[in-house]
Every structure is written in C-alpha cells, then in structure tokens.
C-alpha cells in the first residue's frame, strides 16, 4: 500500500461556525494539508461535493438546516461516495453518539474542544483508512 500524499488530498470543512472551521483548517495546514475548502451549511457542502472529488469531509453534527449527520447518511447510501472519509465533529461527548456516528458510516469522530494531539492522532487514522480503502479498490 502507498500512503496518500497529504498535500494532494482534497478536504472540505462543513460547519456553521467560522471559528471552528478556521481552527480545524489551521491544524490541517500544520499537518501538511494544502487543498482545503469550506462550507457553512449542508446545502453549500452538497454543491461543492457535486463538483469536487473530496477525499475527506469534516461535518459538524448539529447545524441549522440539514445536520451533518443526516448529510453523511445520505452520502453513505450512494456508493459513488465510498471513497470519502467522513469525519464527524461535535461537542457531544457521550459514547452513544460516537457509536451512532460510526454505525452510520463515519470514518472518525472528533469531540470538541479539539485538542491538537488528539486531532493529529485521529487524522492519521483517517489517512490509514484512505490508504486501505484505495488498496481494496485497486485490488
């Protein structure tokens, strides 16, 4: 397997709060990510996903309008989006939410406030998921 080149990965941050988007963007940039887009709601995210093949999509669970959780469920029902690693970001710290998100198809679950060390460790696991997912597809 070949590890994905971080700088080549396309990332979409979806959160209604600009501060949260910026904080995640800063941490991703520190890790070497270079292609980072953002959206402030699910509709905007859907428009962007329809024209760009993102590798990782960060979704705020609770947003006004369609929630990030619902949006992820919709994409997980469509196999053409199997390649996307969905990272649920939420302040909900209860274990049952983690289980629910992973069961619904989330690749990773990150609880706010986001501690940099934890964030890096979780993103490394997402990169491993992308690597194994690509390997499985190329057979």
């Amino acid at each position: 397997m070949t590890a994905p080149n971080i700088a080549d990965l396309r990332v979409l941050l979806v959160d209604d709060n600009v501060v949260v988007r910026k904080l995640i963007e800063m941490q991703l940039t520190n890790m070497g990510f270079a292609n980072i887009d953002s959206a402030s709601n699910s509709n905007e995210a859907q428009e962007k996903i329809s024209v760009t093949a993102y590798d990782i999509v960060f979704l705020d669970w609770n947003m006004p309008g369609k929630s990030g959780y619902t949006l992820m469920q919709e994409y997980r029902e469509d196999r053409q989006y199997d390649h996307i690693a969905f990272v649920m970001v939420t302040a909900e710290s209860q274990e049952r939410y983690t289980r629910e998100a992973l069961k619904a198809g989330a690749t990773m679950y990150i609880t706010k406030p986001i501690a940099p060390a934890t964030f890096k460790e979780k993103i490394e696991r997402v990169l491993a998921w992308i690597e194994s997912n690509r390997a499985a597809k190329t057979g």
Binding site: N17, V18, V19, V20, K22, L23, M26, N62, P64, T90, A91, E92, S93, Q94, K112, P113, I114, A115
Partner: protein
C-alpha cells in the same frame, strides 16, 4: 430516563457549576491556548458595555434549563487574534461565533452530565439573546460563575460570567 424539574436542577446546582467551570477553562485552553481561572470576584457595575452574550437551552418536556454566558470583549478579541489576521477581523467580526461555540461546547458537557444522572435532554442551538430577554441583564435568580484572564494591561480582568437556571418551557422561543 427521569423527568427533569427545576428542583432537580437546584439540587444539582453545585455539580453543574463544576461541570461548567471545568468546561469553560478547558475550552478556552484547548481552542485558543488561553489560560483563564475561576474566581469569586463579581464584575464592577457598569462593565456590561462592550460585553458579548450567548445563550443556550437544554430542554426536556415542560422544562428549559437556560445557560447565559457573558464574555469580556477583550478576551474574545484576544482569542480571535490568535487564529485570524487583523485584515480578516477588520471586516469579519467573530466575537459572536466564539461566544456561541464556547456555550455550545460547555453546555454539551452539562447535557452529558445530566444524562449520566438519568435526565435525557435536548440541546438547542446557541444564540445571541436579545437585550430585553437576557437574564444576565434582568437580574433573574442567578448563580454567577466568574472567570478571569490576563487583559491588555496584564491585570486579571473578568473574562467570562456564566449563569444558569431552570424554568417553565412555555415561554421558550428557542
């Protein structure tokens, strides 16, 4: 799951205060690397001007548990300057976004605590309260929690005040 009542919130007041206190301190530290501490000294009268308020409600059946946060503008400007450029902030004030996100994170922790105690609540979205319905300005029955930070004069300024109370949900609009 148990039905929640204002009396339950009164009984849990000290424990909820601890959850809020730890949550406020941890959130500022994790998100912005800012060190704030809890204390007892109340803000001086008249210092409300320039403050930023955010509010959030936990809800179950007929009861709302409302949390109100008051942030010193200096604390929020410090936080904003750590992650945004001056040029961005000149055209895009983010104080309300920070205030709402802190309330969101802290109250999620309270929600988790109440859940552990058997009280299942729904949490609304954080919002900026209108002045006429702001409990922190109307002197409702309150338990204030105060948090300090190093302000621009390097003196310990009051950065955050938090209040919460339970009430009948009939008048709820959020």
């Amino acid at each position: 799951m148990k039905a929640i009542s204002p009396q339950d919130i009164d009984a849990e007041r000290a424990q909820i205060s601890n959850v809020v206190s730890e949550g406020v301190i941890e959130t500022f530290n994790s998100m912005f690397g800012q060190s704030i501490t809890a204390g007892d000294l109340a803000p001086k009268p008249g210092t409300e001007k320039g403050s930023v308020y955010s509010s959030i409600k936990l809800h179950q059946a007929d009861v709302d548990v409302e949390f109100c946060f008051r942030f010193d503008i200096g604390l929020l400007l410090q936080a904003a300057a750590l992650i945004f450029t001056k040029e961005y902030l000149a055209n895009n004030p983010v104080q309300n976004d920070i205030a709402c996100e802190i309330a969101n994170i802290v109250c999620s922790k309270v929600k988790a605590y109440l859940n552990e105690k058997g009280f299942d609540t729904e949490m609304g979205f954080p919002f900026i309260p209108e002045e006429e319905e702001n409990p922190l300005l109307k002197n409702k029955d309150q338990v204030h929690m105060h948090f300090y930070y190093d302000d621009v004069q390097q003196s310990r300024g009051i950065g955050v005040v938090v209040n919460f109370f339970a009430a009948d949900a009939v008048k709820s609009t959020h």
